[in-house]
Symmetry: none
């Protein structure tokens, strides 16, 4: 079953207002297994609405139209829909009664606009608007469904959930089922992801694979349709997912709605571990991401935004001599910051970021984008190493503007945490890790 969405309103074409209705409707239709094949946005213009609805009905089985049902003369959607479908516009006593009741409840006198709002295409079914005054309607013609809803999101959303979805579920015998999975990858480029999974075979008639770069991540989507059952659609998705996981391994950090923040938070909670952060060029972003998730107080203890060198020394005990000899942006500084904040906050893990986000501040040796990440943790995983601390660091050279450099730096630090929590000690995140065993006997091998 093919769906389409038409959103109507001059404000949507000005660039000032973002259309949130179309994605909402598409997502809800998808929950019933109906794929949206096209979204069309036009202005409050009768001929444009007529043309776009006619075109949509030539392609789709179901069209949801929103916007232009208000009480003012520029609201012409009902008229245009009737015209496109060759129907008369009639006064609905049911709609008028609903509008009258709304006005009465609010203590407002019925204006001429009310009667306009009660005009609907002949033969259509009213969809009650529990929030505002404009009722919606459902027209079934030549086995094609058209739903007309107001454009105010709060009204449209309730009417979609309470009205449209019920009518679709009851009125159509759902013949296709669609399942979907998003796999999220960090640390590989879009091309690298593609190279790894291009050999995977699947039935292209039933299964679709898509790529979506969401800086600094790459998302792979698997969508499958089945005419048999939802279980079958899920099975098809899972078959491809399994093959992809075999190729991409733990480069996949999460799926669907999961963010890297959420994944790392969950691992910290499960592991019963606490963390403290010392960051400079990211200016609080890493702390912010680690605390975006409800319940973060269980693992997050302290974040230090040590922008000045004085702060690095006084708050986390970084040796001023180290800063003056090695520089505040260095592997040594990153390691001292991670260890310092871990000790002062008495946490299991300390993470640090120091770098140059730009646009100024770069040098030939350390250009804008030079970022060092550090991590300190207790080496209590191996035998005979209780009491020792391990500090690791790695330098990166990121590209992009200030915002991107800050974002990818925080992402990389979260990825370090994830890899550490996966059981990796000192490898796999960057090309080279420097290691510095602070106390204890062994190295981390």
């Amino acid at each position: 079953m093919r769906g389409e969405v038409i959103t109507i309103g001059n404000e949507l074409l000005s660039g000032l207002v973002r259309d949130t209705n179309a994605p909402f409707i598409a997502e809800r239709l998808f929950s019933l297994g109906i794929e949206t094949h096209q979204i069309t946005t036009v202005g409050d213009d009768e001929s444009q609405i007529v043309d776009s609805l006619k075109a949509a009905l030539s392609r789709a089985d179901l069209v949801v139209v929103t916007g232009g049902l208000g009480p003012t003369p520029d609201d012409i959607t009902s008229k245009a829909v009737a015209k496109a479908m060759g129907l008369r516009l009639v006064l609905s006593p049911e709609a008028l009664a609903q509008i009258e009741a709304k006005f009465k409840k609010r203590g407002i006198k019925l204006g001429p606009g009310a009667e306009r709002q009660a005009l609907i295409p002949a033969g259509s079914e009213i969809i009650t608007n529990p929030v505002g005054t404009a009722p919606g309607c459902h027209i079934l013609q030549d086995e094609k469904h058209v739903f007309v809803l107001p454009g105010v999101p709060q009204e449209m959303e309730v009417m979609m959930d309470q009205g449209v979805l019920t009518i679709i579920a009851e009125g159509t015998k759902r013949e296709s089922f669609v399942a979907k999975k998003v796999l999220k990858v960090f640390g590989l480029t879009e091309s690298q992801v593609y190279e790894r999974i291009k050999g995977i075979s699947y039935d292209g008639d039933k299964i679709k694979v898509g790529f979506l770069p969401v800086f600094p991540e790459n998302h792979v989507t698997i969508t499958a349709g089945s005419t048999e059952s939802m279980e079958r659609a899920v099975e098809l998705v899972e078959g491809v997912e399994k093959k992809m996981r075999a190729e991409l391994g733990d480069r996949i950090f999460g799926e669907d709605e999961e963010t890297l923040d959420m994944v790392v938070s969950g691992m910290l909670i499960t592991g019963g571990l606490t963390v403290a952060v010392s960051e400079s060029c990211t200016g609080g972003l890493l702390s912010k991401r680690l605390t975006d998730v409800p319940g973060s107080s269980a693992y997050f203890k302290t974040g230090i935004v040590s922008y000045s060198n004085e702060a690095k020394s006084s708050l986390i005990g970084v040796d001023p001599h180290l800063i003056s000899t090695k520089g505040a942006v260095s592997s040594d500084a990153a390691e001292a910051m991670a260890l310092g904040v871990k000790r002062s906050a008495k946490t299991d893990i300390g993470v640090s970021i120091t770098g140059i986000a730009g646009p100024s501040g770069g040098t030939e040796e350390k250009p804008v984008g030079t970022v060092f990440i550090g991590m300190a943790y207790d080496d209590n995983r191996g035998a005979g190493r209780i009491g020792s601390e391990i500090v690791v660091s790695q330098g990166y050279r990121f590209t992009g503007d200030r915002g991107r450099i800050r974002l990818i730096s925080s992402e990389m630090a979260l990825e370090w945490l994830r890899r550490y929590l996966l059981g990796e000690k000192v490898s796999g995140v960057g090309e080279r890790w420097s290691r510095w065993i602070v106390s204890g006997t062994g190295n981390d091998g």
Copy 2:
């Protein structure tokens, strides 16, 4: 001149990703006086792209197409555009050279995807992509312009501003001039803004006024068109702007691309003042916003994300007894945090946020959304008060989810800084300020 926008991507039809490209493009085209008459969103499907572009070219003079220029086989936009316009697809040596240079800079080996990305419709002009690998292109056929851009917003936006707008401005003799101004307000609801400015009169044929809530701010846009000159259009906008500023006063914190972060940063730099932050429920967001702006190291010294009570005591010297008697979320704690971080970082100003962002952690007395903001500063503005410090705080009860509470809390703290830097000492931000003079002789009046 009629414009249309076509956005391409299966993810845009799933409801999972909102299309931010179409409004951005529409807004930019509008800045050149080109109105967008239709926005069409289709999937990564060749025949759909071909059909929608043909239809758009039958109606419009200029079409901007975005999405589907990546290196993987589901990126088929170039091929579809060529087909729709009856052109061959050719390898552009210029595009290939740009892609090769990008890969080289990043130290990544050139994959087969790179050559795919260098295929463009014959006769088209390359639009350089300064951010990512996929170049865009411009095709002029039968006096109609088609621009093809990648779908990644960061890439598309730069290419729109640096490439497309220049080509349009040069290639078409623009006959109408459009000027625009956005006034940004914080601290008034949309209705309150409307009530204040509804009496303002202007020529509705030439000037349009729009409202756009961008949580937690409200933006008012003034757009004016003139057939005479750009100066005339600007004059029309400025006439309305002046009246609005008279009504809204310093509730307007900035205009156009300015953010509250940028405004406060600029004021701190101009005033030669330094700031330190102690925040808990915002988890680093206030520090992050204060350092989003290049050059922030001039005024931002230290940020402490004191999530745990231990951190509040050990790092910024908040009396543990105060926390146990008054609570970590209290006016007293906010004041102690602001003063503590100001003193430890030796800055001119200390700002603090402590609150309950939820979803859990609320009590009957202090429900989720309860947030205290504190500020400490030297009272060296009046005579005879050198050496004294003033600490003020205010409790708020914000509504919304965790993300919204964190965002409006950071916004309010920035607004406190702005009002302080405007010369206000202790009033105007909230209903009631508590005051606590720590040392010195006078009070702040």
